[in-house]
Amino acid sequence: MTASTFVLADPTKCIGCQSCEIACAVAHLGTSITTAGEMEAPFQPRLRVVRTSQVTMPIQCRHCEDAPCANACPVGAIVRQDGVVLVKEEKCIGCKTCVLACPFGAMDVVPALDKGQRVRQPGLKVQTDEGAAPKERYVAHKCDLCIGRPGGPACVEVCLARALVLVKRGTMARSVKSRRTASAMQIARSGVQPAGANR
């Protein structure tokens, strides 16, 4: 089984423009943004830009090998498919346990859409002073790496600062390997010996 790939931003490059958020929302629309605007489709990106005086960068799912969201889901609505951790919307009950479980805040719960339109729940009504109205269905919502999109993740493609990269298993492996080599070289050069080696 291969490890998951994921998208990661470089906070030293990101300018916080939120292009990635729009690109993400558009990529998952299934229609043009003109139509989305006409339908008043909710704006629902699957990554969110953090922008504070300390740090600026989008945060999205890491597609954890042991995905806490999936392990926490009481109804088995979060699964892995070709290394991508995915929400099976039809199973989700909006309990938010996955939101609680995700250490990155990469999980959200948002109105479910069917061809850009919101979906009503069969039974649950929202009671307000004006009376009761059927509630819209909500589902867990997270990065799906734009699975099936020809150009790969839309956020990576649109980023003008080139701050977003798709970290692949191979990239990770090469980087880890080169760090190992560097680390060995450093020890060799500095003459550092493991404790007890002199004995």
């Binding site: 292009s19 729009i22 003109t34 989305a36 605007g37 649109v158 003008l160």
Partner: protein, 133 residues
């Protein structure tokens, strides 16, 4: 799909891009690579700032205020009303009683016509735009 190269309508950078058009509607934007200011990249306004064109609240007919309400009118009616009001004001109060704010968002050609209208046709230099704003 038709692709039309044009210049971004937002900030002053002057990025150029292709508008991708299907059935007379813009569906997406592709950044211009060659010989451009932006060289293959665009910001979010450049990429995603076009759908206002088809917004259903666009003005699509001239409006004339009648009995306090703005009501739809023909172009001839609207243009004639503006022209007659301009003439009337010039006659009664002189050309300097007219003023125009031109647009930093419209084309050079349009700005030229606007100032020409005020200077050559009306006869006043009361023309400005929001460069400072």
């Amino acid at each position: 799909m038709k692709q039309v190269l044009t210049t971004c309508p937002y900030c002053g950078t002057g990025c150029t891009f292709y508008l991708n058009v299907e059935d007379d509607r813009i569906v997406s934007v592709t950044p211009n690579d060659a010989n451009s200011v932006n060289q293959g990249i665009l910001c979010l306004k450049g990429h995603f700032g076009f759908d206002f064109v088809d917004n259903k609240t666009r003005l699509t007919n001239p409006l004339i205020r009648k009995n306090g309400e703005l009501v739809e009118a023909s172009w001839d009616e609207a243009i004639d009303l503006v022209a007659s009001k301009m003439k009337e004001t010039i006659e009664q109060h002189g050309p300097d009683a007219l003023a125009a704010f031109s647009s930093a968002r419209c084309t050079n050609e349009e700005n030229y016509l606007m100032q020409k209208l005020m200077r050559a046709v009306v006869g006043t230099n009361n023309i400005d735009h929001c460069a400072r704003l």
